[in-house]
Symmetry: C2
Subunit: 488 residues, 2 copies
C-alpha cells in the first residue's frame, strides 16, 4: 500500500494532496500544472455535470461549443479583460513540427509560424461575443441563453489538483439580453442555481454575495459569487456569475433593433463553475480516513462486502439486497474480489467515500441480519436483512441531510463578528473562518487589510442586514458588514 494519508491536524494541505491522489480522484501529469482526472474523480464530475446541466436546461439554456482557440487580438478588445487574462495565456505560435536534422526528435518548424498567434481559451467571452455579432440582429433573437461545457487554460505558477490547475474543466454560460434589468436578473438567477446545487447536492452551505470592484471578473460590471468555508477555516469561491453590462457588446459591436426599431447594444452575463467544486467537496466533508461523499453525487452509493470472503450463502443474500437497491435506482456494487481481505476492503471503500457499506458474514446469514455502516459518522447497525433495502434508502437521505447540517453548524461556529482590527487579526490567526466586519468601502482599505492579514473581502453578502458601524481600519462609517477570509 502507498503511504498513509497525512492527518488533517498535522498538515491540512498535505492531507488534501494525499487524499486526492490516494483515493483515486486525480493524479499528477507530465505536464506542468495539468492534472489527470482519474475515473473516480471523473465519475464525480459527470454526476455534478448531469445535475447542473438539467438545472441549466430547466432554466431555458441550451448547450453549444465554441473554438478552443482565440485570436490574440480578440483579447485586447475589452480593456479590463485583457489585463485580467494576458498574463496567464498559453500561446500557440506554430502549426507544425518537423524532424530534427540530427534525427534527435522533433523541433518546431519555423516555416509554420502563424500569422496571428492564437491563445488557448482562458474563458470564452471574446470568441462568443464575436460570434453573437452575427447571431443577434433583432429583439426577436433575444434572450440568447447558451452554455458551454469545455476545458480552459490559465497558466498558473502554483497549482494544486482541482483547486488551481493550468487546465481545468468547467461550464461557462454566456447570455445576451435586451435590457439591463433582464441581464441582472439572469446573473442573479444563475447564482441561485449554483447555490441550490451546492447546498442540495454537494451538501455544502454557501454565502451568496457580490464581489468588491477589485475582486470582480475582468470585464464585468458586477460579479456575484458563492463562497464556501473549508474545514481549515479558509474560504473557497465556488462559483461566479457576472453581469457584464454592455462591455462585450461594445467591444465586439453587438447591437439589436428593439421593438421601436432603434439600434441598441446588447446586455450580457456570463457564469461558471468548474472542477474546482471537487476540491471544495473534498475539503467540506472528508476526514483522515478518506473521502466522504454526499449520496446524491457519489458515483457508487452502496457497496456490499461478504465476509470472510466471496462465498455462499453470503453472496446469495448480497445479490438479493443489491437487486432490491438497484430497482430503487440506487447505485450498488458487490465486491467480488477474492484476493483481498474484508478489512482491507473496508478501508478502501472508506478511502473512496462510498456512503454506505453493507457487510454480510456467515453468522449474519444464520441470524438473518446484515451490518450496515455509514461512511460519514462510521456508525454501524445490525438489522434484519429483509429490511436492508428500505433502511439503506432512508439512510442515504439521512446522510445527505446530516452532511449539510454538520457543514452548516461548522460555518455558524466559524463565522465571527469583529469590531476592531486587533480582534480581526487575532481571530484570523487563532481560528480562521469567515470574519464579518465593517469596511469603509474603499479599495485602499481593502488592499491594506489584505497586505497585513492575507484576508480578502470574499463578498458583500446579499442577505446582509443593514447595520451601522465603523470600519475596523479607518473608523469611517459603514452601513453593513462584509465577509472577510483567507481564501483558496
Amino acid at each position: 500500500m502507498a503511504k498513509a494519508i497525512t492527518p488533517r491536524h498535522v498538515d491540512y494541505a498535505e492531507w488534501y494532496n494525499d487524499l486526492v491522489i490516494r483515493s483515486g480522484l486525480a493524479d499528477y501529469s507530465a505536464v506542468r500544472g495539468c492534472m489527470i482526472i482519474k475515473p473516480l474523480g471523473y465519475a464525480l464530475w459527470e454526476n455534478m455535470r448531469a445535475v447542473l446541466d438539467r438545472m441549466f436546461k430547466e432554466t431555458g439554456h441550451v448547450n453549444a461549443y465554441f473554438p478552443l482557440f482565440i485570436p490574440k487580438s480578440f483579447l485586447s478588445r475589452e480593456a479590463q479583460h485583457v489585463e485580467g487574462f494576458a498574463k496567464e495565456c498559453a500561446v500557440v505560435t506554430h502549426h507544425r513540427l518537423k524532424l530534427a536534422d540530427d534525427g534527435s526528435g522533433v523541433v518546431v518548424d519555423p516555416d509554420a509560424k502563424l500569422e496571428e498567434e492564437l491563445i488557448v481559451r482562458p474563458t470564452s467571452e471574446t470568441i462568443i461575443w464575436h460570434t453573437y455579432r452575427e447571431w443577434i440582429q433583432s429583439y426577436r433573437d433575444l434572450p440568447l441563453l447558451i452554455n458551454q461545457w469545455a476545458n480552459v487554460v490559465r497558466w498558473e505558477l502554483r497549482t494544486r489538483p482541482f483547486l488551481r490547475t493550468a487546465e481545468f474543466l468547467w461550464q461557462e454560460g454566456h447570455t445576451a439580453h435586451a435590457t439591463r434589468q433582464e441581464a441582472i436578473a439572469e446573473a442573479e438567477r444563475m447564482l441561485d442555481v449554483y447555490a441550490r446545487f451546492a447546498e442540495e447536492y454537494m451538501a455544502m452551505p454557501v454565502v451568496r454575495g457580490i464581489k468588491t470592484p477589485s475582486e470582480r471578473f475582468a470585464g464585468a460590471e458586477e460579479t456575484y459569487c458563492i463562497e464556501a468555508l473549508m474545514q481549515d477555516g479558509k474560504a473557497l469561491q465556488a462559483g461566479t456569475s457576472h453581469f457584464l453590462g454592455q462591455n462585450f457588446a461594445k467591444a465586439f459591436d453587438v447591437t439589436f433593433l428593439d421593438q421601436n426599431n432603434q439600434r441598441q447594444y446588447v446586455w450580457a452575463t456570463s457564469w461558471g463553475v468548474s472542477t474546482r467544486l471537487i476540491g471544495a467537496l473534498v475539503m467540506t466533508h472528508s476526514d483522515d480516513d478518506g473521502l466522504v461523499l454526499p449520496p446524491r453525487l457519489a458515483p457508487l452509493q452502496v457497496v456490499i462486502i461478504t465476509i470472510p470472503t466471496v462465498e455462499e450463502p453470503q453472496m446469495t443474500v448480497a445479490r438479493q439486497i443489491a437487486d432490491a437497491l438497484g430497482r430503487q435506482g440506487i447505485s450498488v456494487e458487490i465486491d467480488t474480489d477474492d484476493t483481498k481481505r474484508a478489512g482491507f476492503k473496508f478501508a478502501e471503500y472508506e478511502l473512496r467515500g462510498v456512503p454506505v457499506r453493507i457487510a454480510i458474514g456467515k453468522r449474519d446469514v444464520e441470524h438473518g441480519t446484515v451490518e450496515i455502516a455509514r461512511r460519514d459518522t462510521k456508525e454501524k447497525v445490525t438489522i434484519p436483512s429483509e429490511s436492508a433495502p428500505d433502511y439503506v434508502r432512508a439512510l442515504l437521505e439521512e446522510i445527505q441531510r446530516s452532511l449539510l447540517d454538520r457543514a452548516k453548524r461548522f460555518v455558524a461556529d466559524n463565522t465571527h463578528y469583529v469590531d476592531t482590527f486587533e480582534d480581526f487579526e487575532r481571530i484570523l490567526e487563532e481560528r480562521g473562518g469567515f470574519v464579518m466586519a465593517h469596511w469603509d468601502g474603499t479599495a485602499q482599505t481593502e488592499a491594506l487589510i489584505k497586505e497585513r492579514t492575507k484576508a480578502t473581502i470574499r463578498c458583500i453578502p446579499l442577505n446582509a442586514e443593514p447595520e451601522e458601524g465603523r470600519c475596523i481600519v479607518t473608523g469611517k462609517p459603514s452601513h453593513r458588514r462584509v465577509l472577510f477570509a483567507r481564501a483558496y
Copy 2:
C-alpha cells in the same frame, strides 16, 4: 430568410455546406478551420455521446480525463506516431502575453518562452501511455479500460464543418491488456460497438474491415474501421479501432509482472469516433429540403403546430397530445410562436429534421382529427386525434427502420463488383460508390490506383468471402476482393 440550400444534384458539396449552416448545426468561426457547434448540432452530439457512453460502460469501460497538452518530446517516442502527427500540430511556445509598448494591443512576451514546447493533443496515446507506466505494475492492474471524451486538434489545411476541422470533439478509448489475444479481441469488440451504434441509432449501414498498412493509424499494428457510403457515392470512415501491439508500451516502457512473476510489455488498443459522425449522418439521410434525422438521435422527435395560429381550441388538443407523448418518453414541443405563419414553420422544422410533425387546424378539431407528417418521406395522414399518441410512437419506430432500410438499399445499389481496371475507372467516374475488386496486396499497386483514380482501399472487409481472382492492375493472384472508393 438566408439563401436557399443548393440542391444536391447541382453541387453536393455546396448542398452540404448550405445545409449544415442553414439548419443550425454549425457555424464558421473567426479561427481558421475551427467550427462552432450550434445548439442543434450540439444536442445531436449529446444524444450520440449518451448512447455511446452507455455502450462503453456496458462493456466495462470507465471515463477519465488527461491533459490537453503533450510535451513535444513525447511525440517522437513512437516512430510511426510522430511521422503521422508532427505535421499537423498546434504548438504552444509561450505562456504569457504582454501589452505592446505602443499600446496597440497585446504581443507575445518573449520572456515567457516554455522550456519545452507543448503540442495540443491530436490524440492522446503518448500522454496516456506515459501515465500507464505508473498505473500498471502487475497483471492485477489489467485490463485497464479507459475512455476519454475530449477535444483534439489536427491542423488541417482544407476544412469542412464536422468532416474535417482543425479542432473536433471525440472520444478516445485507451486500453491495456496482458495478452495480444485479449487486446485484439478488445479492438474487435469496440469496432462492433461502433457498427451497432451506426446501424441501430444512426440508421447508417457500415462495412466493417481492416485497413491496409498504408492506411493504418500511425503506431498501430492493425487498424479496424467502419466505412459508410454517402449519397454522392463517396465513402466516409466513420470510426476506427486500433490494435497497437506493444508499440506504445515499448515506447513508454510500460511493463507488468505476469502470474509467473515475469516482466512483460503490455498490449494496447485505442479507438475513437468524433463529431465527424454528424457529417456522416447528414450525408446519409438528408435531402434538398433539409436535415433528415433518425428518431433515436433527433434532439426533438415531434413538433406540434396549430393552424392558422396559436389559438384555442387547437392549443388544447395540442397540449393533450404533447402530454401523452411526453409520458411515453418522446420529446415533443408545441410551437407557440405567434409571429410566424404555419407554412413558414413547416419549412423550418423540415430544415431542422424533426422526424414527425403534427398539424392541428380549427377544422381538424371539429372533426376530431389531426394531420401527421413524417419528415423522411413527406407522407401525411389524417387520423383521429385520440389515436395520435400511439400512432406517433409506432411511426417513430417505422421511420427509424425505414431510414436504415433505405440506406441499406442505397449501399447495395451502389456496391459494384468489377474485374478490370477499365471497368473500375468507368464505374468510379460514372457512378461512384463502393467498388469491390481484386488487388495484389502490394502498397505499390494501391498507390498507383490512388494516383490514377483518387480511389483508396477503404478496407479489407471482415466478412469478405474468400474468392480467387486477379488484381485489376497487375493480374497477380488475389484471394479476396477489397473495398475501394473515393472518400471523404
